[in-house]
């Protein structure tokens, strides 16, 4: 059946297909190999996509159009504090509706079993609307009280029961840098590759947890523009008016892009995922090459005979490329299915936004076929050993 269809498509007998299906064990090994390489690549791309996606999450939660960061900041975590005065200066510019200071710090949260969770602590002005989350907005009154906090319910490696308890009204106390903090509510954000989750507190509480931080030096300033204002124009105006020696002014989109570019090219995680994708492709090329080269070696007599009969070199190239495309296509399907399963398992276990996109699936399919064809082209070198002069 498939033989007939392929014969139509190719305009000749589908010798590659017949060869591959003749040795079922080898075909199964080859497909498992291609599927494995696909799985490797999909995992790396999945983590890469999750990294990109999780970087954007806190930015997208900000109730702002423009972010004022330290000029040495690449991410939300690594910049120096900036003068609080920049907030007042920004608020005074035309086109700006409001500006609010945000304090950021990393906290180690000891668990009862002695292990530690990393929390990104965000200190906000309880009067201002720094974040879009309705849960954070609703908790502002509570946060205005001293030493109160709300926690991201997607925080990793914390028993889900704890969040249910908190949501049921049982406040939970933790020790934050030797300072007792009471968690009275939850909100939803989702962690990334850095911290396990987020804790939102008031700026006053923040300064009690991080005693080396000063009220005059927040981590960044969130700027809301007036409705109808062109955001880039307002950003340009701020750049012109604020001293560029200590702060960088970026639209949220620019800040996200910069953070993503930084973390994917300068940080180990991003580089590892990029390298892993490369290794996955290499594994695929080596496996497919091995299979095709063995297949050519096994059929040298047959190929020599076809040469004697008068088939030109491109005919043999065609057979090997036919095999390569078949291996790529058939191996991709189990590879994709296995990846979908693993994505679901990892996403539920880690809370990372691991998602299969159509674009990624198509790109990997195209890459797989290209990879197989490269292997096939390398394997054709073995064809030279098929010498019709040896046949008689």
């Amino acid at each position: 059946m498939i033989t007939v269809v392929l014969a139509r498509v190719l305009g000749r007998q589908p010798i590659g297909w017949l060869q591959l299906t003749h040795n079922r064990t080898r075909l199964a090994t080859a497909l498992a190999g291609v599927a494995f390489a696909n799985l490797l690549v999909f995992m790396q791309l999945g983590f890469f996509g999750a990294l990109i996606g999780s970087i954007a999450i806190p930015y997208n939660g900000m109730n702002a159009e423009i972010l004022i960061q330290s000029s040495d900041a690449n991410t939300l975590q690594d910049g120096s504090p900036i003068p609080r005065n920049r907030m007042l200066q920004a608020a005074a510019q035309p086109g700006v509706a409001s500006a609010t200071a945000v304090y950021y710090g990393r906290l180690e949260w000891k668990q009862p079993d002695g292990t530690v969770r990393a929390l990104d602590v965000v200190g906000i002005d309880p009067q201002a609307l720094a974040f879009r989350s309705p849960e954070i907005t609703a908790a502002r009154g509570e946060l205005a009280l001293a030493d109160r906090a709300i926690i991201d319910r997607r925080t990793r490696n914390v028993p889900a029961a704890l969040f249910r308890e908190i949501e049921a009204g049982h406040a939970y106390s933790i020790e934050a840098n030797s300072h007792a903090i009471t968690i009275t509510g939850t909100f939803t954000l989702g962690g990334g590759f850095g911290a396990d989750g987020y804790l939102v507190v008031s700026d006053q509480t923040f300064l009690r947890i991080f005693r080396n931080r000063s009220p005059g030096a927040p981590s960044y300033v969130l700027v809301r523009t007036l409705p109808g204002e062109a955001i880039p124009a307002v950003a340009d105006r701020l750049r012109a008016r604020l001293p560029d020696s200590d702060v960088a002014i970026r639209t949220i989109a620019e800040a996200v892009a910069r953070d993503q570019a930084f973390q994917t090219t300068q940080k180990p995680a991003g580089i590892i995922f990029g390298f892993g994708t490369f290794i996955g492709a290499l594994v695929g090329i080596v496996i497919v090459y091995q299979i095709l080269a063995t297949d050519v070696a096994d059929h040298l007599k047959g190929y020599a005979t076809f040469k004697a009969i008068g088939y030109p070199p491109r005919f043999f190239l065609g057979i090997i490329l036919e095999e390569a495309v078949i291996l790529g296509l058939l191996g991709f399907i189990p590879g994709l299915l296995a990846s979908l399963g693993l994505y679901a398992i990892i996403a539920s276990a880690t809370g990372l936004p691991l998602e299969m996109t159509i674009g990624r699936a198509i790109a990997v399919l195209a890459g797989t076929i290209a990879m197989s064809m490269i292997s096939g082209l390398i394997a054709t070198r073995r064809l030279a050993q098929a010498d019709p002069a040896d046949l008689f």
């Binding site: 305009g11 000749r12 007998q13 010798i15 017949l18 060869q19 299906t21 003749h22 040795n23 059929h299 007599k301 047959g302 020599a304 005979t305 076809f306 004697a308 009969i309 008068g310 088939y311 030109p312 019709p388 002069a389 046949l391 008689f392």
Partner: protein, 226 residues
């Protein structure tokens, strides 16, 4: 016009000190439709001569023309073009193990491009060689004689102008040998196919138009029977 025209053909294997000359000054013409048998002791150069005439090996010295094409200095494309007009029957069957009998035979036709009647033509020639019931079998499930007959069908199906055969009946029993020879003879007279066959089979030698004998790389006898 002579189908094969050779003058002063030499051939050596190896190079430098290990050079071994195996053909010496062969001069020979074969006409259309001739059924020629080539005999000679082992190592006398029969196979070497066949592989040169079949364009499977490059000509070194001497003048060789096959089907009107001069092989001296012919490029690979020209040699491929000649090979498509020639049928080879090797001592070993050399079938492709992943292809069925019919698919193997079709390989002899497809080289000229896929034609509508190909499948039927392949079936007909397998039928002539008494293989109708093994048409969809792969070589591993065929007997030695059956495989050899499939290989013969593959050589004949494309209506070659010349057939080069190297001991083609070695793997066949008496009845099958007679069948194959009769078929080759019939093609020769019906289509004017020229056949050059290495064999030691007395039955075939008896029915040949012409018998060439080689010894130590030279043609020592050229006997015309009819």
């Amino acid at each position: 016009m002579d189908i094969i025209d050779i003058a002063g053909l030499d051939h050596s294997y190896g190079q430098g000190e290990t050079t071994l000359q195996v053909l010496f000054n062969i001069t020979l013409c074969l006409g259309q439709g001739e059924f020629v048998v080539l005999m000679g002791a082992s190592g006398s150069g029969k196979t070497t001569l066949l592989s040169l005439l079949g364009c499977l090996r490059a000509v070194q010295t001497g003048r060789v023309a096959v089907l009107g094409q001069d092989l001296n200095g012919a490029d690979e494309a020209a040699r491929i073009a000649i090979r498509r007009r020639v049928g080879f029957i090797f001592q070993a069957h050399n079938l492709h193990e992943s292809l069925t009998a019919r698919q193997n035979v079709l390989m002899g036709l497809d080289v000229h491009g896929r034609l509508p009647g190909s499948e039927a033509a392949a079936g007909r020639i397998l039928d002539l060689l008494v293989l109708a019931d093994r048409i969809d079998s792969v070589p591993a499930t065929l007997s030695g004689g059956q495989k050899q007959r499939v290989a013969i069908a593959r050589a004949l199906v494309g209506n070659p102008e010349i057939i080069f055969a190297d001991e083609p009946t070695a793997a066949l029993d008496r009845d099958n040998s007679i069948l194959v020879i009769a078929l080759l003879r019939r093609l020769g007279s019906a289509r004017g196919t020229t056949t050059l066959m290495v064999t030691h089979d007395p039955r075939i030698i008896d029915s040949a138009d012409r018998i060439l004998t080689m010894a130590d790389g030279r043609i020592t006898r050229d006997e015309r029977r009819k």
